[in-house]
Amino acid sequence: MAVQNNKDQLNNNQKEVILRTTGLTKKFGKRTAVNNLNLEIRKGEVFGFLGPNGSGKSTTVGMIVGLIKPTSGSVNAFGMNLEENYWEIIRRVGATIETPAFYPYLSGWDNLELFSIAIGGIPPAKIKEVLERVNLLDRAKDKYKQYSLGMKQRLAIASSLLRNPELIILDEPTNGLDPAGYKEIRDLIPSLAGENRTIILCSHLLHEVELICNRVAIIKEGNVIACESMQVLLAKGQMLQIKVENPQQAMVILKKQEWIKNITQADGYLLVDAPKEDAQRISKILAENNIFVSELSVKSSDLESVFLELTGSETNGKTN
């Protein structure tokens, strides 16, 4: 429901760009980690950022928050250039980058208090509020080094909320969480977006991204290979599932059609890589060749299969 609300809200704000990267490139020696990245992220969006390990996701996020200096290109957020207006931008951004990192000798509360002092203008009530939000208030006085990985993740999210950010960047926020914790965070993200915040979510869990995100960019070897709304991206993976009496013959006929990208056969069905709008056309071609369709349906795709197809990765529901 929250996702739907968020999607509705997104439509209202579609034109306001919160973050824009222009020709963003990062080279480490001879290796190009990120190549000419052009992204636009709009207000209220939950933007998924996917890619296999070493594809340049973390480098991109690092450049967006100013931890990594781009070799070329620029980052603009809230209408300002990051290099020229670092603090004006960063004070409006909450980010958890890669693994959670806090001072182990301090408690969860003290860690947040420390960050509050550094940021300035954050009342103690806000610390309590964000800890409550991630269900960590009862363990707030425990030392950080005693926290489980899931608790560390939740503290990282709490710290990203301290400055009441308009843009939240979450890099693998569900790593190490148990199923209950995972669900909490999965519910928290759309609710944050529902508060008129923009969220960039880097996650290995494709199912999670599919459930939460409005739009997705897939990056491979430093290049964005897809950047679409979730609907469009999933539609790319849709197949027409056709049942006929003579699938072999039907396959031969359809393969002659240049506009059909791919045809495979599975469980007695033909799987045709073509948009659903072409269903009638396919049916007609087959009928003209005396092959009659007994079943024709659209086989939905999921993000995982689209991701695998685009990146050519081998995964078990996770990107690496």
């Binding site: 973390s58 931890l67 990192a101 940021i119």
Partner: protein, 288 residues
Amino acid sequence: MARLIRAEIYKLSKRSMTYILLLILIGLFALILLITQATTPTATTVTNGITTTAPAVAANVQFLQGVVTSSIAMLGGIIGVVLAVVLVANGMGSEYGWNTIRPYLLCSESRSKMFASKLIADAIFIVAGMIICVITVILLGVLFTAIRGYSWNLGASTLSFTGSQLLDFTRAFYVILPYALLAFLFTVLGRSTATGIGFGIGASVIELIVTGLLASAHGWLAKIPNYMLSINVSKITSLSGTSGGVTISGGPNTPIASSLHAFIVVAVYCVVFTALSYIIFLRRDVTG
């Protein structure tokens, strides 16, 4: 900037390492004082058949003055330097070790301000540690004097004496600085506490050896020690009249440098170490 200094002070004040270093400092000084007390020769006088034993340094005033003077000198010596190096290297190295450099930078107005706030907070803690140590030493001195059966005397706090001790205290802090900044430089360079402490102290030791070797050289080589750190630090510490550590001097062919020269050379080292650390810290990417 003030916020970041506060944050740095918060970090250091909540860390047990800070107090362990302070305890080590105080403990070492107490031990030295105790040994000095135990080994101080006593003078025995017999008046009208009554034997009286007094410290060789007869007046309590002189004893207390000696305690303060030598403790300040020792602060600028090897003990103070090593502990300051550990404090500074730990403060920065831990940020890399725990990866807290990433979230902390995102809470900092700029890298320059974070850099400056770290150094300022370290300096505050070094000075605070030195003050606490001197106060402890004075209290122990008074205690030992009282144990010996003499009333303690604050004659040591005359204006001229206090003034000269403040100057010595400043000198002690000044000679700690280049070593602490060198450790900071290596910590930033190697992104680790161990590198900072290891290379910070190691480089100082190597420099001592090189200075020693060059001291016996001739010609222009003999002039080099005058531009090295250890010999100039030694020159500054010797101004107090009490050396806190090993006194380093040039060879017979090394021209004797002035105090002003020594101050300038140490200042140049401090500026160079700070500038190099700053450039590296500012330019380098912060990656996981």
